[in-house]
């Protein structure tokens, strides 16, 4: 399991290929890539700054990936999240999951993103046409995360 929190840009294609490299037991790789949009809540966005809580960020992501490993039979799991200044079109986050069969990979990837969005200490501040603006948390994200705790 790999967790990376970095300012540097990354290549999602290279990350996907690395999940399969040298392991022919991997039958399925599912990945999610989140990108910076140029528009949000009716305003143009020219870029954003991602703040985080160094120390807690790594711990929170470690907890989330450990839980995903407990719930599904995974061969590899990678979470990569950028911090600092980002421009529209750049990837922000990558979650990649490798397993023997697709179901576990699909579900684990979905789970990790839902928990990351509601439990990992990152905050987005957008540079909008109306000035800098902190992005507010969304109820739909909490509802999505809640799906995983239902019996």
């Amino acid at each position: 399991m790999a967790i990376r929190v970095q300012e540097a840009a990354f290549d999602p294609g290279a990350e996907v290929n690395a999940l399969h490299a040298a392991n022919v037991g991997v039958g399925a790789v599912v990945s999610f890539v989140g990108y910076v949009r140029d528009f949000n809540e009716g305003r143009e966005v020219s870029g954003m700054f991602l703040e985080h809580y160094p120390g807690m960020t790594e711990k929170a992501l470690g907890k989330i990936t450990a839980e995903a490993q407990q719930r599904w039979p995974l061969l590899k799991l990678e979470v990569l999240h950028r911090v600092g200044s980002l421009e529209p079109g750049e990837p922000i986050v990558f979650v990649g999951v490798a397993s023997a069969h697709r179901q576990a990979a699909f579900e684990a990837c979905d789970f990790v993103m839902d928990y990351l969005k509601t439990r990992a200490p990152f905050w987005k501040k957008e540079n909008t046409s109306a000035g800098p603006k902190w992005v507010e948390g969304r109820e739909s994200d909490h509802a999505a995360a809640g799906r995983w705790t239902k019996p």
Binding site: Y53, G55, M56, L116, K117, P121, F122, K124, K125, G137
Partner: protein
């Protein structure tokens, strides 16, 4: 007792402070929050319903008990991903 309090994102900006040592008798995080809220003015931001908190870098509830030397963080709803 003394606790190390950290503020992030919009709270950090509103308060003009990223962290401080706070002295007092705080049985739990909510007691600490109410102590800070009593400073009034910009500190009213800690009265938001959506406030989140962490103790020693783990998410927790406001009822979480505190011990001397703990690191406590207050922040708005997280928005990563």
């Amino acid at each position: 007792m003394s606790v190390n309090v950290q503020y992030f994102a919009r709270y950090r900006e509103t308060l003009g402070l990223d962290g401080e040592q706070v002295e007092g008798n705080f049985p739990n995080i909510d007691a600490l929050r109410l102590h800070l809220l009593a400073r009034e003015g910009v500190w009213e931001v800690l009265g938001e319903q959506s406030l989140m908190c962490a103790r020693n870098q783990e998410l927790c509830q406001l009822a979480e008990p505190l011990q001397a030397g703990d690191e406590v963080a207050f922040f708005p709803t997280v928005t990563g991903g």
